[in-house]
């Protein structure tokens, strides 16, 4: 960023509260962005990053209001504008790229109509001809076809990546000075994500737009942003040049967040952050991070520290920032040795397994063996067939051919066709812990259910077992009385793990078990699974789309593409020396903190 250039947008002391209350969601947020610069706004769910981002357009969601501060674009204070002027600003001077393009494009209107109306409403271009010209130009800028037939399509006729490109085209249509991107690549495959990120970078440079890139993904932000602001509990806790911030984080939260991210290059134990972020209205006195902070001293609980400079252009909201900054090395767990695996007496064997949906085969000819005590990672993008394969193994998908052998015994396709013993020995953990626990049952009832089916013990023994299992997954026996909606996402996933463990399984099938969770929680869950696998000698099939995560848990990895395994081997050999072109491309497109900061 150039020092002399006047910033395109200046945010000062932004305060956003629940409507008609004094409870703040976001407070004391100040930053500026220069033309052509990308500022990354990073935070976990509930940190207030999206709320802050929307305020740049003078917009709040229902039940929320902007209570103070200013957002200046040039000479105008966005927050002081009347309705009409604010409408002219939106989409014209400050534009927005939403998180979910599928939901944000109007399903009833052709994409051409939706793009054209943006130009028309802001009187962009002299006449229809000029606007048609600009429309075609926009489409080319985001690498989409510019022919009329394509513009006549409806949003549902485009892929997720194409939809997000239309979103980008719409945002850049009137050449805005400021653009707010709200997690625009969440839900996209890494390959698509890489392309969209390139477009974002090129367009901001081309149009000299100031971009605020809101994201939970540190690696993506590190790849894209020149400066980064980290949000925690509605406050910016650290702000600085991207490289410096990731190399010498000066707030304990930033350090722990970086430590929770898996890395492709070496096998490391992930360290989660214990506890959970305080919600609005329940924030503690003093530093909001203090209750979870290992640097905490008495003084931390006196008052919320101000955001202060630790070096040129690098600010942190911590009274011990200098000490935190000075700590050598990045705060991730120790490097683990890569362990060897023998596949001689396999627990689970797949022999030319095909799975289909309504006669349409989506998984082709899968063969592999899962050794005792082994964790095999199954990696692939959405639509690769990895979840279908996992569900076939778990007995949740009936349309399959070929053989799945458990200790040499063939398994029926449907779980109901399998023996009780087989149902007990293979346990499946679902992706979304918000869907896999019945909201109307207590945690105790949920964890107990398998005991009632498989067990023979008395009620008291069952209760005792439930308590032990809850403690095994780092919860307490007291959780048995609670309902799922009283638990956080991470806690729910622990309950799901406890429900699987109580069966004393031989094989654990984990289907994207961390993809619905924040990184700090993901780290803790992966750490728990790795520990359980080691201590209990479980075999595990770990299905994920997250390549770096494989490092921290698996011994072997199988890469799936279009329903086939394209490459399989030890984690080291596949991730460091990929042989298959698809694996290579996948690795190249995966954003990584190390690549971005070195």
């Amino acid at each position: 960023m150039s020092e002399v250039q006047a910033p395109a947008i200046v945010v000062e002391n932004l305060r956003i509260t629940l409507r008609n209350t004094d409870i703040d969601i976001v407070d004391d947020v100040s930053f500026e962005i220069a033309p052509g610069e990308v500022l990354g706004l990073v935070g976990e769910s509930g940190s207030g990053k999206t709320t802050a981002g929307l305020a740049l357009l003078g917009h709040c969601r229902r039940g929320v209001e902007i209570a103070g501060g200013s957002v200046r674009v040039g000479e105008t204070d966005v927050l002081a504008l009347d309705t009409l002027a604010r409408r002219r600003l939106r989409g014209g001077i400050v534009s927005y790229v939403p998180q979910d393009p599928a939901a944000s494009l109007n399903p009833a209107l052709r994409i051409g109509t939706q793009l054209r109306e943006t130009l028309e409403v802001h009187n962009y271009g002299a006449d229809d001809e000029a606007r048609r010209e600009r429309l075609a130009e926009m489409m080319r800028e985001v690498l989409l076809p510019d022919d009329p037939a394509y513009l006549r399509r409806y949003p549902h006729e485009l892929s997720g990546g194409q939809q997000q490109r239309v979103g980008l085209a719409m945002a850049f249509a009137c050449r805005p000075r400021v653009i707010v991107l709200d997690e625009p690549t969440t839900g996209l495959d890494v390959t698509t994500q890489a392309h969209v990120l390139n477009s974002v970078r090129d367009l901001t440079e081309l149009h000299r737009a100031a971009a605020l890139y809101v994201s939970h993904d540190l690696a993506v932000v590190a790849t894209l942003a020149t400066r980064v602001a980290v949000m925690y509990a509605g406050r910016v806790v650290e702000l600085g040049p991207s490289q410096e911030l990731f190399e010498t984080p000066s707030h304990p939260y930033t350090r722990r967040l970086i430590g929770a991210i898996p890395h492709i290059s070496g096998k490391r134990q992930l360290a989660g952050i214990p506890g959970r972020a305080p919600s609005p209205g329940n924030r503690p006195k003093g530093c909001f991070f203090a209750p979870r902070c290992s640097w905490k001293i008495d003084q931390c609980t006196v008052e919320l520290p101000p955001l202060r400079s630790v070096s040129n252009g690098h600010l942190a909201r911590c009274i011990r920032a200098e000490e935190v900054r000075a700590e050598a090395g990045l705060p991730s767990g120790e490097t683990l040795p890569a362990d060897a695996v023998s596949v001689e007496d396999a627990v689970l064997s797949l022999r030319s397994v095909h799975s289909a949906y309504g006669g349409h085969t989506v998984v082709h000819d899968i063969n592999f063996d899962l050794a005792p005590h082994e964790c095999l990672a199954l990696v692939g993008e959405s639509g690769s067939g990895k979840t279908t394969l996992a569900r076939s193994i778990g007995g949740l998908h009936r349309e399959r051919r070929g053989e799945i052998l458990l200790n040499g015994e063939p398994l029926a396709a449907s779980s109901r066709g399998r023996s009780r013993e087989a149902r007990r020995m293979i346990q499946y953990i679902f992706q979304n812990p918000y869907g896999s626990l019945n909201p109307r049952r207590t945690i105790g009832q949920i964890v107990r259910q398998p005991v009632e089916l498989f067990g023979t013990g008395s009620d008291r023994e069952a209760d005792k077992l439930v308590g032990e299992m809850l403690e095994r997954v780092s919860l307490t026996a007291a959780y048995a009385e609670r309902y799922p909606d009283q638990l956080s996402g991470g806690e729910r996933q622990r309950v799901a793990i406890a429900r699987a463990l109580i069966c004393e399984p031989a094989v654990l099938v984990c289907d994207e078990v961390t993809s619905a969770l924040d990184v700090s929680v993901q780290a803790a869950i992966v750490d728990l699974l790795a520990e359980l696998q080691r201590d209990l000698g479980l075999s595990m099939l770990f299905v994920t789309h997250n390549l770096p995560l494989v490092r921290s848990i698996a011994q072997r990895v199988a890469v799936m593409n279009h329903g086939r395994i394209v490459e399989m081997g030890t984690v080291d050999s596949v991730l460091l020396n990929p042989a298959d072109d698809y694996t290579k491309a996948l690795l190249a497109d995966t954003p990584s903190l190390e690549a971005a900061t070195t």
Binding site: G395, S415, R423, F430, S436, L437, N438, R440, R441, R499
Partner: protein
């Protein structure tokens, strides 16, 4: 409204989400003024129906004066010279008992069909729903009329006719509510463990559709009362000559200009009780929607 009965009064509960525990739902519904007014109205009318016969000045079939006279008793006499007030006080029991029984049948059968249909997801689902479609193709009142004329106005027949035509309407709502639930992973988890199917339906799915079911309960009661009253208004009651609000309207309609009370009292009673159950249903629906919405933003 008996005849336009296919859509819930308040569509909000269709909003899919975890249903709150029943206790919390009821407490939250009771916090709404419309629920309280609904309970008061319905409660008052039920009290009239239950205790009315004990406080009536005359027997329901006693002749106390000239027909259609407004000077005898509090509300005058009816077309035969019976006391309007006494007949009114005696005429609520049968209509309420029949409606409640019919609603119960409709709810139980409808819930079973809806749950099985949603969980089966296959030919059974298609078959059951086509069958429901066939029943839905006739207005409730028409089926009830045909049944009563063919087999005669008997109490059990009115209950079966009203309950049987209520069933497909309940089944559609419960199936709609249960469909997203059976897709959720906790049902798959129970399937994978091999939990018996009936226990999945009762233990995993049913508790999650309780709030739409409770809304349906008061809604269908409202419509059943209306339908039973309408049948009475057409002259179909199990005990011709007996006291019944719908029948009173049928009998006294022609004298509406000279002695309106014989019509007005039962019309008001039916209006108040359907309003009451309607408000109650709306209160529960609102509470369910509010809790679901609150949870979605957590």
């Amino acid at each position: 409204m008996t005849l336009v009965a296919d859509t819930p009064l308040t569509p909000e509960p269709e909003a899919v989400g975890p249903s709150p525990p029943t206790g919390r739902l009821l407490r939250s519904a009771l916090g709404l003024w419309r629920t309280r007014i609904g309970i008061t109205l319905a409660g008052a009318m039920i009290a009239v129906a239950l205790f009315g016969p004990y406080v009536a000045p005359h027997g329901p079939s006693d002749f106390v004066g000239a027909p259609n006279s407004s000077s005898v008793g509090t509300f005058g006499t009816d077309h035969l010279g019976q006391d309007v007030l006494s007949r009114f006080l005696a005429g609520g029991r049968s209509i309420l008992a029949i409606s409640a029984a019919a609603t119960l049948i409709g709810l139980v059968l409808g819930s079973i069909v809806g749950l099985v249909s949603a969980y089966a997801r296959n030919l059974l689902d298609d078959g059951l729903m086509r069958l429901m479609d066939v029943i839905l193709a006739f207005p409730q009142i028409m089926l009830a009329l045909v049944a009563l004329v063919t087999l005669g106005p008997k109490t059990w027949l009115i209950i079966v006719a009203v309950g049987g035509t209520t069933m497909p309407r309940v089944a559609r709502v419960i199936r709609g509510a249960a469909q997203p639930i059976v897709e959720r992973d906790f049902v798959a988890a129970a399937d994978a463990l091999g939990v018996p199917r009936w226990r999945i339906l009762l233990g995993e799915v049913l508790p999650n559709v309780l709030s739409p079911l409770m809304v349906e309960c008061s809604l269908r009661l409202t419509y059943s009362i209306g339908l039973v009253a309408t049948l009475g208004f057409f002259g179909f009651t199990p005990n011709p000559g007996g006291a019944d609000w719908g029948l009173m309207i049928f009998e006294n309609r022609l004298a509406l200009t000279v002695q309106p009370w014989g019509v007005v009292l039962p019309v008001i009673a039916i209006a108040l009780i359907t309003l009451g159950t309607g408000l109650l249903g709306d209160g529960v629906a609102r509470a369910a929607a509010g809790i679901d919405r609150g949870r979605a933003t957590e």
